[in-house]
């Protein structure tokens, strides 16, 4: 161990180098060490002071949580423009609660593409792609604030953070605007403060403020940016609206913004979700209504397990090119059916058509998804 690493004065510098190693190594963008010091200094102060300041307000849980292995698995068959692509995917999520205020959570993805190889029969898979989607440590500082450090899903819009897993999403295809604001691997490396609280008897407010450092090691790379997301949820109307903002601290140093909406009318079994995102590399929106057939008067056992889904989306190219976004203006319409054998086991099928100047294509998707929960400890309540 070098004197620099053991010195209390320089300990922060060593930590800084670990967290933002990509920044120092590449020297592509000048590091504002002062600002990073301020940021991590504030984070450290929050971590130290918050437990004492808010000790009275923190929820004491009656039941002690145990570590869990949960996640989802799916087999998605996709036919885009007549080209078949079989896509098995496993996404395990490990949750390790520590004490009454901490949670370590990490999610990985193992997936491969099985495609037809010319001259050979059947489908052949390439190497299994492995990726740690996120690995984060959460500290519940008080009832209204959680501090997260590590690699976390970028909270820009709602799809990436809340709707991405195959067992949750209504249509198995990604929205065209999904890559906007997420960084190169859909995740950020840094720190985040987030939470939710009842701001008024009629509505709740949720928020997330984050900083991500540049990290160039693939596949856990991330961009350098700051951003935030805030939303208002009206429980009585079951309506959530919110907005996201991000400022890129590299490349063109541009601003990105977006809006989201989730509405579940109380009188109809309908879910409506929508997002809009804008950046210099492109912009667009998607709108997704879902109708649950539980009001249909016949075959009620089957109908209450069935959903009809539709999604309309448009993407507009921006001033700058992007590898992860479409190169041309694109419109896409999809509709499909989901059938829930159980709440975690779903059969999904959908058809869509994509319209763009590079050619119109049909998109067919069939999939079977399953959510699993495996306790890693005794599950009974502790008295």
């Amino acid at each position: 161990m070098t004197p620099e690493e053991t010195s209390p004065k320089l300990g922060f510098r060593a930590t800084l180098r670990h967290l933002g190693c990509g920044v120092n190594r590449t020297r592509t963008y000048p590091v504002s060490e002062y600002r990073l010091r301020v940021f991590f200094g504030l984070a450290a102060i929050l971590l130290l002071i918050a437990p004492r300041a808010f000790a009275q307000g923190t929820a004491e849980e009656d039941v002690k949580p145990i570590p869990l292995l949960t996640g989802s698995t799916g087999f998605i068959s996709d036919f885009t423009g007549g080209q078949p692509d079989l896509h098995p995917i496993v996404t395990p999520l490990v949750l390790v609660p520590i004490g009454s205020r901490w949670l370590f959570e990490t999610r990985a993805t193992f997936e491969t593409d099985l495609v037809e190889v010319p001259g050979r029969s059947g489908f052949h898979g390439g190497p299994v792609q492995k990726e740690v989607e996120y690995a984060q440590l959460d500290f519940i500082a008080n009832p209204y604030m959680t501090v997260t450090v590590g690699r976390f899903l970028t909270p820009f819009g709602i799809f990436n953070e809340r709707l991405y897993p195959v067992w949750i999403r209504n249509l198995q295809s990604d929205p065209l605007i999904l890559p906007i604001g997420l960084g190169p691997s859909n995740a950020s490396t840094g720190a985040m403060v987030r939470g939710g609280f009842k701001a008024h008897p009629k509505f709740d407010v949720n928020y997330a403020v984050y900083f991500s450092a540049l990290f160039t090691t693939s596949p856990v790379d991330s961009d350098r940016f700051i951003g935030g997301r805030a939303g208002i949820f009206v429980p009585r109307a079951r309506l959530e609206i919110g907005g996201s903002f991000q400022h890129l601290l590299q490349q063109e140093r541009s601003n990105l913004f977006g809006f989201h909406l989730v509405w579940q009318p109380t009188r109809l079994p309908v879910d409506i979700r929508s997002e809009y995102a804008h950046s210099k590399r492109g912009s667009g929106y998607w709108f997704e209504p879902v109708y649950k057939l539980n009001q249909v008067p016949f075959l009620q056992n089957e109908m209450r397990r069935t959903q009809v889904v539709a999604r309309y989306q448009q993407f507009f190219t921006g001033q700058l090119a992007s590898d992860s976004l479409s190169a041309v203006n694109t419109k896409q319409f999809e509709f499909g059916l989901n059938y829930y054998f159980l709440d975690g086991l779903k059969l999904a099928g959908n058809y869509g058509r994509q319209f763009s100047s590079s050619g119109n294509v049909n998109i067919w998707t069939m999939g079977l998804t399953y959510r699993f929960v495996i306790p890693l400890g005794p599950t009974g309540a502790e008295q």
Binding site: S32, R35, V38, L42, A53, Q56, G57, T58, A59, E60, D62, V63, K64, P65, I66, L68, T70, L95, P97, L103, D138, I140, N142, P143, Y144, M145, T146, E161, R162, W167, I168, R194, G195, G196, F197, K198, A199, P201, D204, N206, Y207, A208, V209, G228, P235, R236, L249, V262, Q264, D271, L342, D343, G344, V373, P375, G377, T379, G380, A381, E382
Partner: protein, 120 residues
């Protein structure tokens, strides 16, 4: 210079959010929230552990209210993104709800009521 302003704005927003969060702890807000029916139940839940009612009748009545409100919050919050799951054993649910508190930014009140509902 421009970035300094962005940093200052971020700090100011964070400070406002923290201040707003602290204000929630003030007894006045609890008092005012008790005027609405939903919040009244939530307020009951907040003090549930500290002041358990003595009589059996009020226990069952309060538990029923907490359960109804828990189910309401469960459907409103969990059902916003995914199909409501079936009930899991209590310690499994406690881990899942802590995860969802962070992921779905549930309020402390929602977390308490949903956990209560899902473990009863």
């Amino acid at each position: 210079m421009r970035r300094d302003w962005i940093w200052l704005c971020c700090l100011a927003i964070t400070a406002l959010l923290v201040r707003s969060a602290i204000a929630q702890n003030h007894p006045k807000s609890e008092k005012s929230s008790n005027t609405s029916s939903g919040a009244a139940i939530a307020g009951t839940a907040e003090t549930h552990d500290a002041a358990l009612p003595r009589s059996g009748r009020s226990v069952s009545s309060e538990e029923r209210m907490v359960r109804v409100e828990g189910e309401k919050r469960f459907r409103a919050n969990c059902g916003r993104c995914h199909q409501p799951p079936h009930k899991f054993p209590p310690r499994v649910m406690a881990a899942a709800i802590r995860h969802m508190r962070v992921r779905a930014m549930l309020t402390d009140e929602d977390m308490r009521l949903i956990l209560k509902y899902m473990t009863q």
